[in-house]
C-alpha cells in the first residue's frame, strides 16, 4: 500500500485519553468520534487535518485504555496512516484489526518534522521524506498480521477463512 501526505507530529506516550477523551465514549458514531480526535493534545487537530494526512509520533503511541474508539477516531478523521517509534500493544492490535495502517520506525519518528510531506510504500518497505529527500527503511508486517491487514481487518479475515 502507498500513502502520502502532510504530517502532524506528536510526542512520546500519547495516550488514548488524549486521542479520544472518555467524555466522548458514550457513542459508536465514527464521524462524531472524529470530531474530537486528539482533542486533549491539540484542540485544533480535528478541524485542520485533511484526508490522507499522516500522524507521526514518538514512542508508546496509544498507551492506556483498550478503547477501539482511538484508532477509529483517527481513521475516521481521514488520517491515512500513523508512524511512530513504537506503539502500545492494544492500540497496535486494534489498528491491525480495524485496518488503520500503522508503521514502526524510530528513524522516521525522529527525523520527520511537523508539516513535512512524506510518502509511505509498505510493499517496498520505505518512507520518503519529500521535503528533505531522506528515505527511511521500514519492516514488513509478519505474515500472520499481513493476512489480517490484506483482508482489510480481522472481521473480513475471519469471514474469508471460514469460507475456505
Amino acid at each position: 500500500m502507498k500513502y502520502s501526505g502532510k504530517t502532524h507530529k506528536f510526542g512520546n506516550d500519547i495516550n488514548t485519553d488524549e486521542i479520544i477523551p472518555a467524555r466522548y465514549l458514550n457513542t459508536t458514531d465514527k464521524a462524531e468520534l472524529a470530531k474530537y480526535c486528539m482533542e486533549d493534545v491539540d484542540k485544533t487537530f480535528a478541524a485542520k487535518v485533511r484526508p490522507g494526512e499522516i500522524i507521526v509520533a514518538g514512542k508508546n503511541f496509544g498507551c492506556g485504555s483498550s478503547r477501539e474508539h482511538a484508532p477509529i477516531a483517527i481513521k475516521a478523521s481521514g488520517v491515512s496512516c500513523v508512524i511512530a517509534e513504537s506503539f502500545a500493544r492494544i492500540f497496535f492490535r486494534n489498528s491491525i484489526n480495524i485496518g488503520l495502517p500503522i508503521i514502526e520506525s524510530k528513524e522516521a519518528s525522529e527525523k520527520i518534522k511537523n508539516g513535512d510531506s512524506v510518502s509511505v510504500d509498505t510493499a517496498q518497505g520505505v518512507i520518503k521524506n519529500l521535503k528533505t529527500k531522506e528515505c527511511y527503511k521500514i519492516e514488513k508486517y509478519p505474515p500472520f498480521m499481513q493476512k489480517i491487514v490484506s483482508a482489510g481487518g480481522l472481521i473480513n479475515s475471519i469471514k474469508k477463512g471460514s469460507k475456505k
Partner: protein
C-alpha cells in the same frame, strides 16, 4: 529449555506442540469480557460476521460499569445494547446494575476466573486476573467480537520479564506501592508487549487483593499481562468463593527454573515506602513523604485497582472518628455490590459517611472522568485508581495523584498529600 508460566498457559490453549516468544497463535479463550464502552462496538462487528450464536453463552461476560448506572441518555443507550445482546444470545454472565461491580473486581469475586485460564477482555485492565495465575490480557472491541463468535483470539506469545521482590514490606505499603515502584523504575513502556511475572518471598506472602492490584497495573508499564504463579493463597481464595460460576478449581502452572526471561529485575521491598504517582504519568513516582505541600481538592477511594474490601478496611481504619478536611471532598466507591454490602455490615460505610465522605454505589465513575466526581479546571485529586493521564478525571488542566488507600485516606483528613503515620 524451560518455559515460563505464561508460555505454558498459552500452549495449553492451542493445538500446538510447542510455542516460543514472538510467535503468533490463535488461542482458545476461557472467558471473554466487554463493558458498556467497548461491547457496543463489538456487537456491531459481531453482526458483520453473520454468525447466529456466541461460541459459548457461559463464557461471554458483559458488565455495564463505566458510565453505569447510566449517567446520561447516550450512556443509557450503550447500557441498553448490552442488556439486549445478553437477552438475544442468552448470555448467562450479564451483570445488571444491582448485581454489577467494576468488572475486574467482579469477575474474580464471583469465580469466573480461575488459575490457568486464558481470559481476554475489551478493557485494558483485564490483565488483573494474572493475580490468580491466569493469562489475561486487554484487547479491543473487534477482538471481543471475534472471540465471542469463534472462541479464539490471535496473540503474539510474549517474552517475560521476571520481577523478584524480597524482604518484608513496611507497615503502610501494599501491592499498590510495589507496582508503582516498579512502574516508576521501568517506565510506562518498560514492559511493552511483555508479560510481567512477579515472584519472590514478598509476593508469596502477599494477599490476593494486593496481587490483584499489582497485576491490574501491568498495563501501566506497557505490559501485555501480569502474572503471579498460583499457590496456597490462590487455592484458598478460589475455594472460598461461594458464588463460583465455574465447576473446576483451575489448573496450576508455574515457570520452569530454566525458563527464559528477557530481563530479571530484583527489588528489596524493605526499601519501598508509600509512594505516589504524580501527574501526568503513572511512572512519575515519588515518596508520599516528599509531597506534603501538595493540597488536594478531592480524594477518590475505589476502582478495579483498590476498591476491594481490604482497601475499604484500610481507609476506614484511618478515617474512623476523624473528619475530612473542609477544603477537600472524599468519594468512596466500593468496587462491587458484595464489597458495598460488607462495608455496610462491618460499619465501614458509617465511618466514611460520618467522616464527611460520599459513599457510592459501585461504578468506574471518576476513575476515567466519567461521572460521580469530575475535576474542575485547576483541581487536584489523590486517587487509588490506576491512571493519571492528562484529563483522566476531568478537565485537561486538572491533575491526578495515584496512591494506596492508606495514603489517600490520610490525605483526605489533612487536605493535602499525607503519609498515613501523620494521622495514626
Amino acid at each position: 529449555m524451560g518455559h515460563t508460566i505464561t508460555e505454558k498457559i498459552l500452549l495449553k490453549h492451542t493445538n500446538l506442540k510447542e510455542i516460543h516468544p514472538g510467535e503468533f497463535i490463535n488461542a482458545r479463550v476461557d472467558i471473554c469480557l466487554g463493558n458498556d464502552i467497548t461491547a457496543p462496538f463489538a456487537f456491531e462487528e459481531f453482526d458483520k460476521l453473520g454468525v447466529k450464536k456466541v461460541f459459548d453463552k457461559n463464557r461471554v461476560v458483559l458488565v455495564p460499569d463505566h458510565f453505569a448506572p447510566a449517567k446520561d441518555m447516550k450512556s443509557a443507550n450503550q447500557c441498553k445494547k448490552l442488556a439486549e445482546f445478553a437477552k438475544k444470545y442468552s448470555i448467562k454472565n450479564y451483570f445488571e446494575i444491582g448485581k454489577m461491580g467494576v468488572e475486574h473486581a467482579l469477575l474474580p469475586e464471583v469465580g469466573l476466573v480461575l488459575p490457568g485460564d486464558l481470559v481476554v477482555g475489551a478493557d485494558s485492565h483485564t490483565c488483573t486476573y494474572g493475580a490468580l495465575g491466569a493469562f489475561s490480557s486487554g484487547v479491543g472491541s473487534t477482538d471481543l467480537a471475534a472471540a465471542m463468535a469463534t472462541g479464539e483470539c490471535w496473540l503474539k506469545v510474549p517474552e517475560s520479564i521476571k520481577f523478584i521482590f524480597t524482604g518484608k514490606m513496611n507497615k503502610w505499603i501494599g501491592g499498590k506501592d510495589l507496582i508503582l515502584h516498579t512502574i516508576g523504575n521501568i517506565g510506562v513502556d518498560g514492559a511493552l508487549y511483555k508479560a510481567m511475572e512477579f515472584c519472590g518471598p514478598t509476593i508469596e506472602g502477599l494477599p490476593i487483593d494486593d496481587r490483584l492490584t499489582m497485576c491490574n497495573m501491568a498495563i501501566e508499564a506497557g505490559g501485555k499481562s501480569g502474572i503471579i504463579a498460583p499457590d496456597k493463597t490462590t487455592a484458598k481464595y478460589v475455594k472460598s468463593i461461594k458464588d463460583r460460576r465455574r465447576a473446576s478449581l483451575g489448573k496450576y502452572y508455574s515457570s520452569d527454573e530454566d525458563a527464559k526471561y528477557s530481563e530479571v529485575i530484583e527489588y528489596d521491598a524493605r526499601k519501598i515506602e508509600p509512594v505516589v504517582a504524580c501527574p501526568n504519568l503513572p511512572s512519575n513516582v515519588k515518596p508520599a513523604s516528599e509531597l506534603k505541600d501538595v493540597s488536594v481538592d478531592q480524594v477518590v477511594i475505589g476502582s478495579c485497582t483498590n476498591g476491594r474490601i481490604s482497601d475499604m478496611r484500610i481507609a476506614a481504619k484511618l478515617l474512623r472518628g476523624k473528619k475530612v478536611k473542609s477544603s477537600t471532598r472524599l468519594i468512596v466507591i466500593p468496587a462491587t455490590q458484595k464489597v458495598y454490602l460488607e462495608c455496610v455490615n462491618e460499619g465501614l460505610a458509617k465511618i466514611f459517611i460520618e467522616a464527611g465522605g460520599v459513599f457510592s454505589t459501585p461504578t468506574c465513575g471518576p476513575c476515567l472522568g466519567g461521572h460521580m466526581g469530575i475535576l474542575a479546571e485547576g483541581e487536584k485529586a489523590i486517587s487509588t485508581t490506576n491512571r493519571n493521564f492528562v484529563g483522566r478525571m476531568g478537565h485537561p488542566a486538572s491533575g491526578v495523584y495515584l496512591s494506596n488507600p492508606a495514603v489517600a485516606a490520610a490525605s483526605a483528613i489533612k487536605g493535602r498529600i499525607a503519609h498515613p503515620e501523620e494521622v495514626l
